[in-house]
Amino acid sequence: MNVLVSLMLAGLAVYVAIQNPGVVQLLLGPFEITASSGIILIACFGLGMLVGMSTSIPSGWRAYRMNRAKAS
């Protein structure tokens, strides 16, 4: 199931990248990124996914410590 969802997401990402080849310039203070809009969209989405997944790290760490305390 997980593999299927991952494959679907990857396929969707490739589709978006192919459909949006136009070059876009991103500015943030002194930094400047120029890339195709599809690539930038995918990067933004991936970064957001990482941030979203990292929200479960504290509770996971707590559960891991509790399990270790129970085991010892």
């Binding site: 589709y15 978006v16 459909q19 949006n20 136009g22 876009v24 310039q25 991103l26 500015l27 943030l28 203070g29 809009s37 930038i40 969209l41 933004c44 989405f45 991936g46 970064l47 957001g48 996914m49 990482l50 941030v51 979203g52 997944m53 990292s54 929200t55 479960s56 509770s59 996971g60 707590r62 559960a63 509790m66």
Partner: protein
């Protein structure tokens, strides 16, 4: 600490929004979305955050149940 972090993030988002006001067209299948680069990038980022939270939700619920039981 969290308030300072949230304030810094809001400031960076504002700066990003002011600096990237160029219009861009995004094709998604049969749909075309037109908006400024900043709005499209920020909404994509938020959509990614929601997807990430949804992806970890089942394991979080399972872990919480295990911790209670």
């Amino acid at each position: 600490m969290r308030t300072i972090l949230a304030f810094a993030l809001a400031l960076i988002t504002l700066l990003f929004g002011f600096e990237n006001q160029r219009l861009v067209n995004i094709q998604l299948g049969p749909y075309t979305i037109e908006g400024t680069v900043a709005v499209i990038m920020i909404s994509t980022f938020i959509f990614g955050i929601l997807t990430g939270i949804l992806a970890t939700l089942p394991s979080s619920i399972r872990r919480r149940r295990l911790m209670k039981g």
